[in-house]
């Protein structure tokens, strides 16, 4: 865990005014936008840690994401190829066909990106074939299936089955998450893992790619 800069701390404390003040000062003194983003990302990692410890809740996650997004917007034209270090790996994620909920999925995406993964977010209501095609194209080792509805167990199983049909089952781990998921559901769907929340999801992805 890196020591947080003043900017990272301000983001962690959700001090919008201070974040923008510091970003402005840094730009004026010629600091590189990439470095600014790096400091912010370190702050975000700490936000995630506080969420995991039960000190921060969803409103803090959303607020920190909002502040980060506004910093990104401000730096936008100045950002070259933002070098954040090598990606930890690719994760394909989406809400399965039939389900259009994405709040949980979007939080997971935030955690994964914050942890250093390259995330291919397929959105919602994603057909099994699209999951399969994308895994194949990206060579991802992890596919995350998100659901809110308890009527989606068969749809999740279909993704797992279609991965097997396509001969991809051995090269990708399937991770399911969302309100109705648990160990019994995991077993029924044939998925490899079930994550009870976003931080566990990120942890499992780290394990898979380690």
């Amino acid at each position: 865990m890196s020591e947080l800069s003043e900017l990272g701390k301000a983001l962690l404390e959700l001090n919008e005014e201070k974040v923008h003040l510091l970003v402005k000062k840094k730009l004026e003194t010629g600091e590189s936008p990439d470095r600014i983003i790096l400091e912010c990302n370190n702050g975000m990692v700490e936000v995630g840690a506080r969420f995991e410890r039960g000190e921060y809740y969803i409103s803090e996650l959303v607020m920190s994401g909002e502040i980060l997004a506004s910093v990104m917007k401000e730096l936008g034209p100045m950002l070259g190829t933002v070098q954040q270090g090598p990606s930890l790996g690719k994760v394909v994620i989406g809400t399965v066909k039939g389900d259009i909920h994405d709040i949980g999925k979007n939080i997971v995406v935030m955690f994964l990106k914050g942890s250093g993964f390259e995330v291919i977010d397929l959105g919602v209501d994603v057909p099994a074939e699209v999951f399969v095609k994308t895994v194949k194209k990206e060579g991802a080792k992890v596919v995350g299936l998100s659901v809110l509805l308890n009527s989606m167990f068969a749809a999740m199983k279909e993704v797992v089955d279609k991965l097997a049909e396509a001969g991809l089952r051995d090269q990708v781990k399937v991770l399911i998450g969302g309100s109705p998921c648990n160990e019994d559901v995991r077993r029924f769907t044939g998925a490899d893992y079930y994550a009870k929340d976003a931080s566990e999801g990120a942890r499992i992805c780290k394990e898979i790619y380690s």
Binding site: M63, F153, A154
Partner: protein
Amino acid sequence: MAGDMKPLFEERLKRYQAAIALEVPDRIPISAGSNYFAEVYGGYNNQQMVYEPNIWVDADRKFVQDFPEADNLRSGRFWGPHHDAVGWNLYRLPGRDLSPSVQFQFVEGERMKSDEYDLLIQNPVEFMFERFLPRALNDFKERGSVRSYMAFLKGGMAAIMWGFFARNRIMTQESELGMPLPMAGVMLAPFDYLADGLRGLRGIMIDIHRQPEKVLEACETIIPDIVNAALSIADPLRRYPIFMPLHRGAFPFLSPKQFDKFYWPSFKKAMLMLIDAGYTIRAYLEGDWGPNWHHFQEMPKGKILCDIDDKGDIFKAKEDLGGYQCIAGGMPDHLLILGSPDQVIDRTKVLCETVGKDGGYIINAGCGIPYDTKAENYRAMIDGVLRYGRYHEGPTEFEIQMNPNPPAQWKPPPRRVITPWEVKLDELGTIAGDEKIIRENWESLEHRAYNWLWSWAW
């Protein structure tokens, strides 16, 4: 009601009301507010249940025929054509936007902007017509167009038609099937109006950081309107609880401190107004409300049936709420969907012997019975209750709570009107006859129409 169905109707109603009132009925009630399994049991799909009222009664008959031990049946959630008349975009519907065999689903969106709190607080009518409704109703985007006028006309007509279909269904449920309703009328927690349909989740989560005082003020402002809207469609005889689907009070959306500050105060106030009007409440505590449900201890005892969702710990709920409020739940959704009858019976036995002890408990899955419940599992749950969930032989000793009148001295919260009678009277000039019967109808329609506007907010 048909004479021979009256005893069965009363038996079910007594059992349900007794449990809610923390009296011990003859057995544990089997009651889901949202029995999705029952909806599709008769072979109709989700789209048909949303679009075709003529099959509703048949669907109910088929379910009750095979599962007569269930204690109530819902009168439905939506009538699709009502949505289509105005282009309501808060929900995707089966058969229209989604596969015909999939549940209707909420569409997140920011239909109130972050700088519109002052308008909502100071002039809710203008807020509704100028900001929220044009964003929530696709047919009202081009205000002033003929289509936008027709949308309101069709919407109003559709609302009345839907009311007719629902009443017809309810009458059949009550008199032919002897089935009470699990709930009638609906209200959200004030915070959830903002968090769901108005600001959306992202919006409200930012608002509580950037403009907390506005959030609080807005929650207070809307209370009279939402209470009046709820009371207008609640059971006139006060037999059935008013439904409250509750969302953002769950962990981990808000911290307990944020819950105490933002969610609870206006929620408590609004609930007390419903209770003071002579009603009970059926509250779906959706998600995991574990850290926050202790607040229900503050409320009048035996007035709020708390549905504990799949993610909540039913045993902890009984510990925390036992003796304060009745709880429902405890049958894991996945067990009804994926499990075996034996597993379901075993679980039912456990529930009957623990959380079911001494009353104050209704068996249910997570705020409802899942669509994909296997019939043999639902049957097993019933059989388990009959075997292990009986408190005593003989009927429930309880006097049915039924009252067409509110408590003495009760007054409704201020009813908002858009065009007060005084203005209309001024336009009419001298009234030639009985002013009262003209005024009463004018105001009644004003209230109805205003409530209809709020029905699009969630």
